[in-house]
């Protein structure tokens, strides 16, 4: 009997801890979104910090990530076009390539890349700031940490996911055109017709919402996990591990929800 009570107590404590972290995550997401949409929040310092954050999260990685996305897109397009030709479905090769890359693979790969590069760094930074009492020091000296520390990171992450998804998607469209029609301009009307068929209003809204959700997740979850770190230095790597695992599942959940919404 004591073993059962002990087991239930531990499971209950774990469940409560999970509930608390999710509540904190949604609370933080709400506060950050409200702050980001409030013009009064943007004073000279906030603008400087947000601009720097956008540079370090989005601009600095633009070239290497775009090159990688071009390579990935090229390989996947070749596979789709080749397979479609084998089965006599060449007419659908362009549409299949675009649906695969622009609607599904590139937004997810972009979110995973930003999560690995910036999300893990944000989680570590916030966890260490909490362990070293730096957040309390900032608040004691009258600094709004939401405005100066968390909101810039979230805006940087969201813009990073949105802009990198947009840039790599345009690149994938160009590569798909070249793979299907070759390097000539006479098939542009056919290409435009297929694009019009794929990208209707609902799909465009869906991509935008999915990318925004990805962007919010890759920054808010690491910040929330960092803020929940117990004040012990050895907990910093555990906090990052937990944050990244939660982030992975959330990204996958958003992707699966998006697929279900579109195709089921």
């Amino acid at each position: 009997m004591p073993a059962i009570i002990n087991f239930l107590t531990r499971r209950g404590a774990a469940l409560l801890a999970t509930w608390r972290i999710w509540r904190a995550t949604f609370g933080l997401a709400g506060k950050v979104v409200v702050a980001a949409l409030s013009p009064a929040v943007y004073n000279s310092a906030t603008r400087t910090v947000v601009m720097k954050q956008i540079y370090f999260t989005a601009v600095q990685i633009l070239v290497p990530f775009t090159l990688f996305a071009a390579l990935l897109s090229f390989v996947l397009i070749q596979i789709v076009v080749g397979t479609a030709a084998e089965y006599g479905l060449s007419d659908y090769a362009l549409e299949m390539s675009v649906r695969l890359l622009v609607l599904e693979v590139l937004p997810l790969v972009t979110a995973l890349f930003v999560a690995l590069r910036s999300g893990s760094a944000i989680n570590t930074e916030v966890a260490l700031m909490r362990i070293n009492n730096e957040l309390e020091a900032l608040e004691d000296s009258g600094v709004d940490t939401l405005r100066l520390e968390f909101m810039p990171r979230v805006i940087g992450g969201m813009l990073s996911v949105l802009s990198l998804t947009a840039i790599t998607s345009v690149l994938a469209l160009v590569l798909a055109y070249l793979a299907v029609y070759g390097a000539q301009p006479w098939s542009l009307p056919d290409f435009a017709r297929v694009m019009g068929k794929v990208f209707d209003g609902a799909i465009l809204t869906g991509i935008l919402l999915k990318s925004l959700a990805f962007g919010l997740a890759v920054t808010v979850i690491p910040v929330a996990e960092g803020l929940a770190t117990p004040k012990m230095l050895f907990m910093a790597p555990i906090s990052v591990l937990r944050g990244m695992v939660r982030l992975f599942f959330v990204l996958m959940f958003i992707e699966v929800a998006s697929l279900a919404f579109k195709y089921i």
């Binding site: 310092a45 910090v49 720097k52 600094v143």
Partner: protein, 127 residues
């Protein structure tokens, strides 16, 4: 307070009046640059936190405090900030250079470090 890792030393100092008084970056960075010139650390202006030496980081933190001219600046156990520097003469020189920009500056240190400090930095009151 921590320096922001993705801002340069100059930006970190300029950020304080930007935040407190919503001054534009040109004005605050000019103030920050003048303070850096006074301390002779202008070569570190564009370095970010991970690239700074202990002395440069200490100067950055002091200047972030000094740029607002608070009534008192307290340097708590400077050996923690300057583990690789013979810090009493370093601090003495730094405070002399910034004399016109500081109201009152207190250094809090262990009693057994008292002989390290030049006499003019020691408080006359019994401690």
């Amino acid at each position: 307070m921590p320096l922001r890792a993705n801002l340069s030393l100059l930006d970190n100092i300029a950020l304080i009046p930007q935040y407190r008084h919503n001054l534009d970056y040109e004005t605050t960075s000019a103030q920050a640059w003048n303070l850096l010139l006074l301390t002779g650390q202008e070569s570190a202006a564009l370095k970010r936190d991970p690239q700074l030496s202990h002395a440069e980081r200490c100067v950055a933190k002091l200047l972030r405090a000094a740029i607002e001219r608070p009534p008192i600046i307290l340097i708590d156990r400077p050996a923690l900030l300057l583990p690789d520097t013979h810090y009493p003469p370093f601090l003495s020189d730094l405070l002399e250079r910034l004399a016109d920009h500081l109201n009152d500056c207190w250094i809090l240190d262990y009693r057994w470090n008292e002989p390290l400090y030049p006499p003019h930095l020691l408080s006359p009151a019994p401690r």
